[in-house]
């Protein structure tokens, strides 16, 4: 229990530091959105009008410290103000619409890559003299060493443009009404194949090799030899005795991978025009939409920290020696 509290306070501190950076970052960029708006209006706005707009977006009142306080307040009340880009829609609403898609993409691809990678890694290390162990890991290493953008564009080109098997953009067919219908779910799945597939393809080798290396260490341990001597089935020796231990270092790596997966999904969303946070973030940055950028960074930070916390809990559950 005290372990839980310690971890929770750690994550809370990390969260405070992260959102403080969140506040500083956009303010370090040159210009502000009203200037951008003014430039876009090409002189058709008078200064009084601009001040009104500024005030409306919460940019003028007080010095940086006062802005920081009101920012903190808005963070904890989740009242992040209207978006500049999609005025007058609330930033919270904009983020709320696209967040589920990013979670789906980032976590979904991570989980699939993890399960596949760990299984392949376990099997290929246990049978490392065989064809599978000799051939599959190097092949996956080869695939994943392409820069992500190349893999994504190749998939995009072959399956989307040439073969026309899979859709090239959007999270689902805009002609279909969202809802719990077979048609809608099918459309979502179909639209997710390429973006998710590309992320899995790039990510899987990490897990294969993480797991394989950990397994090769564990397989030399006496308790694995003893499990074999006990005449247990090779399935049980492989997964319960060796895999169970080998997964510990892999579980640590999960925490780090969650952050990378969210970052990776930004690129994926842009390539496949997937309507997630990454796509919106890019648009927000182009329009210098500070409230929107901050909201998205805030969400990403929270998501990554939460996921890390879950990974921590997972580790405690996996390794009984930790919990003290």
């Amino acid at each position: 229990m005290s372990f839980l509290l310690r971890r929770l306070s750690f994550y809370f501190t990390a969260f405070l530091i992260a959102i403080s950076f969140n506040f500083m970052l956009p303010r370090m960029m040159p210009g502000d959105p009203i200037d951008a708006l003014f430039a876009a209006a090409q002189g058709k706005m008078d200064p009084a009008q601009m001040d009104a707009v500024r005030e409306m977006y919460g940019f003028v009142d007080g010095n940086v410290f006062e802005q920081y306080l009101s920012y903190m307040q808005s963070v904890f009340t989740l009242d992040l103000g209207p978006s500049v880009l999609m005025f007058p829609i609330d930033v919270t609403t904009v983020v709320g619409m696209s967040l589920p898609w990013t979670m789906f993409l980032a976590l979904g691809s991570l989980i699939v890559a993890l399960i596949l990678g760990v299984t392949i890694g376990t099997y290929s290390s246990y049978r490392r003299e065989g064809f599978f162990g000799q051939f599959v890991p190097p092949f996956l290493a080869f695939i994943s060493n392409f820069p992500y953008i190349v893999t994504a564009l190749l998939l995009f080109y072959f399956f989307g443009l040439q073969l026309e098997l899979l859709p090239l953009a959007y999270t689902y067919d805009p002609a279909i009404d969202p809802g719990f219908t077979l048609e809608f779910i099918g459309s979502v799945a179909k639209h997710a194949v390429l973006p998710m597939g590309s992320m899995i393809l790039v990510g899987i080798a990490t897990w294969v090799f993480n797991m394989r290396n950990a397994m090769i260490n564990v397989l030399g341990e006496d308790y694995v030899t003893m499990a074999e001597a006990k005449g247990l089935s090779s399935y049980r020796v492989m997964y319960r005795y060796a895999g169970r231990n080998a997964i510990l270092p892999v579980a640590t790596a999960i925490a780090m991978a969650i952050g990378f997966s969210f970052a990776g999904s930004i690129m994926t969303e842009v390539v496949f025009n997937y309507q997630g946070l990454g796509n919106i973030l890019l648009k927000g940055i182009m329009a210098r939409d500070y409230p929107l950028i901050q909201a998205i960074l805030l969400i990403l930070v929270s998501a990554v920290l939460t996921a890390n916390f879950v990974a921590d809990l997972l580790y405690v559950w996996l390794d009984p020696r930790i919990s003290k």
Partner: protein
């Protein structure tokens, strides 16, 4: 002599490496009778553990059994299919490994490590197996509530007791003990050996006891075999091996132990280093370290000769 429980005939185990083939076990033949304790002694790297592992085919690549046969109760272990081998392991021959610290899986409860072997070999449920597991823990003097403990929650001696309980789980006829008490302090070592003896009385299993500690072995073994560079160089009843050894290497080994009683003497050690298995000399493997080396020792391999009933040694001097 009684019908042998385990019979090893001309067993050779090779380690295949890029630098050549190292023969870790060379032409070893021995038998273990039911209820007997056979000790195998020798310095590190002499092949005693390799021999023990080979008996249940636990040796891993690059080790390879190149010749010989291992007959257990009339069945050739080397000819068993994978399934037969799985049934044979632990049911007939169980193993207590060198260090109990490492032979229990740290993230699995000892209860599961005890019950899974029972369930794997017998047609009973986990629940019934748990009852049996509790009983087994009781036999080695550990409270049944410890089933839910993880290995790190037990002391070293308790862990070794758990390992012994696991070894007894299926009441095998032969237990191979590969330096079972090396990692323990002498007090715990004594306790465990005493318990082991009581258990042996009770269950009547045979023990193949592997150790470098000849004095310990002189005490608990019925017969002792001594290995050097993969060869069995002397084997016979424990008393004679310990008090009147025939082979110069055995003499050297016994002389390297300090005596507690009597005047202080300078300890005798065996000069030189163990031979490199990749570059064995022609003739006797012990020639470079032997004080009584003769011309013939550099030419011919000494063979095991029968010195007495059930007493063999391999030296040209004999």
């Amino acid at each position: 002599m009684k019908e042998a429980l385990l019979e090893i005939n001309n067993l050779c185990v090779d380690y295949v490496s890029a630098n050549g083939v190292a023969r870790a076990v060379n032409n070893v033949s021995l038998t273990i009778a039911p209820g007997e304790t056979l000790g195998i002694a020798g310095e590190s790297g002499c092949g005693k553990s390799t021999l023990a592992f080979a008996i249940t085919r636990l040796h891993k690549a690059p080790a390879l059994i190149s010749e010989g046969e291992i007959i257990y109760n009339g069945r050739d272990v080397l000819k068993m299919s994978d399934k037969e081998l799985r049934d044979f392991r632990w049911n007939d021959v169980s193993i207590v490994f060198q260090s109990a610290m490492n032979s229990l899986n740290p993230v699995i409860t000892i209860g599961e490590q005890l019950t899974d072997v029972i369930v794997a070999h017998k047609r009973i449920s986990f629940k019934q197996a748990a009852v049996k597991a509790k009983e087994l823990l009781g036999i080695v003097g550990i409270h049944g509530d410890r089933l839910k403990s993880f290995p790190h929650q037990l002391s070293g001696g308790m862990r070794q007791r758990v390992v012994i309980a696991i070894a007894l789980a299926l009441e095998p006829k032969l237990i191979i003990m590969d330096e079972p008490t090396t990692a323990l302090d002498v007090v715990v070592e004594r306790e465990i050996l005493n318990e082991l003896y009581d258990l042996k009385e009770k269950f009547g299993f045979s023990i193949l006891f592997i150790s470098h500690d000849l004095s310990l072995m002189g005490e608990i073994a019925d017969r002792i075999g001594v290995m050097y560079a993969g060869n069995l160089i002397e084997i016979g009843d424990a008393k004679t091996v310990f008090s009147k050894p025939s082979h110069p290497y055995t003499k050297g080994l016994i002389a390297s132990f300090p005596t507690i009683h009597g005047p202080k003497e300078r300890l005798y050690g065996i000069p030189g280093d163990p031979v490199n298995l990749l570059r064995l000399p022609s003739g006797c493997n012990f020639q470079d370290r032997c004080a009584d080396c003769m011309d013939i020792c550099k030419k011919d391999d000494p063979l095991l000769i029968e010195l007495n009933v059930d007493y063999h040694a391999a030296c040209h001097k004999l």
